[in-house]
Symmetry: C2
Subunit: 136 residues, 2 copies
DNA sequence: GGAAATCGGACAAAAGAGGTCCTTTAACTC
DNA sequence: GAGTTAAAGGACCTCTTTTGTCCGATTTCC
């Protein structure tokens, strides 16, 4: 369940992108500058986001990345799965991938009880929510 | 929130201890053997458990560790805090210690909503529950 | 005294996180 | 076409954490 800086940077970078006028095309340099993030690392992260259809790349001079969907449609879970890998909610909260179907962890069935709520939280929070929060 | 193998080994080692007749004194070697865990590493973990009053050490030949409380009184949260450090529930689920009071993470208030449930889960689960599960 | 056990610190291997750099490719401008 | 700017992608690097091992010291039983 533990999220890495990659996810944090992804959300912040996307947030910076969402604050621009809709449809804007912004290079990574601009996004990294806006959020004070390491440029090269953020570039790597946006490659993942592009591969997963969250963002669209346009190469060449004066170009960059743009959002594919409206901020209201970009869920936090979608970003997490793009960055950390798919099947994220299949991981056990407590021991991550080590807790599988064949070898459930000690807390597995208890974890199963709150998992739906957590999933709903991550699917119910969108980029628009985060942008509103960081702007306020 | 991510738990390490130390906690897993602690719970499994304690579980093995709880399966013995009440008040038994068992050396680490015996516990490690029962759960197939690395002996030296488990010894380190039990030192922490002893320091935190979960287990009592008796040194010398033919001795070892014994439970201080009944298995029903040993909560999972207690073991976690003994092993991973105190204030465990203060950590944000998503970004751990990086999410503090002054610099809350992007999901902080949403996390606050489910935190009590998680805490209740970890406090409500005892060594007795785990022992029953692993025995069944 | 010898054996068996914990105590505690130093050390080390492996994995993961976080990040840089360089080359290639694409697209625009002159 | 040449130059410029930007993403694509891979190789590499460093630091931290995890997951241990090992050894000497101490305690206690026989």
């Amino acid at each position: 369940m533990r999220l890495t800086k990659e996810t944090e940077y992804a959300l912040r970078g996307l947030s910076a992108l969402a604050r621009q006028p809709q449809g804007s095309v912004v290079p990574v340099t601009g996004l990294a500058g806006a959020e004070d993030l390491p440029r090269s690392f953020l570039a790597k992260i946006f490659q993942k986001l592009a591969r997963n259809g969250i963002v669209q790349a346009s190469r060449g001079a004066g170009r960059g990345y743009s959002l594919v969907m409206a901020p209201e449609e970009v869920t936090v879970l979608g970003v997490i799965e793009a960055v950390e890998g798919s099947g994220y909610m299949d991981h056990c909260l407590f021991w991550g991938g080590h807790c599988g179907g064949s070898t459930p962890c000690l807390l597995h069935d208890r974890w199963a009880n709150i998992k739906p709520q957590l999933q709903e939280l991550l699917e119910g929070t969108t980029l628009a929510d985060l942008t509103a929060a960081s702007a306020g």
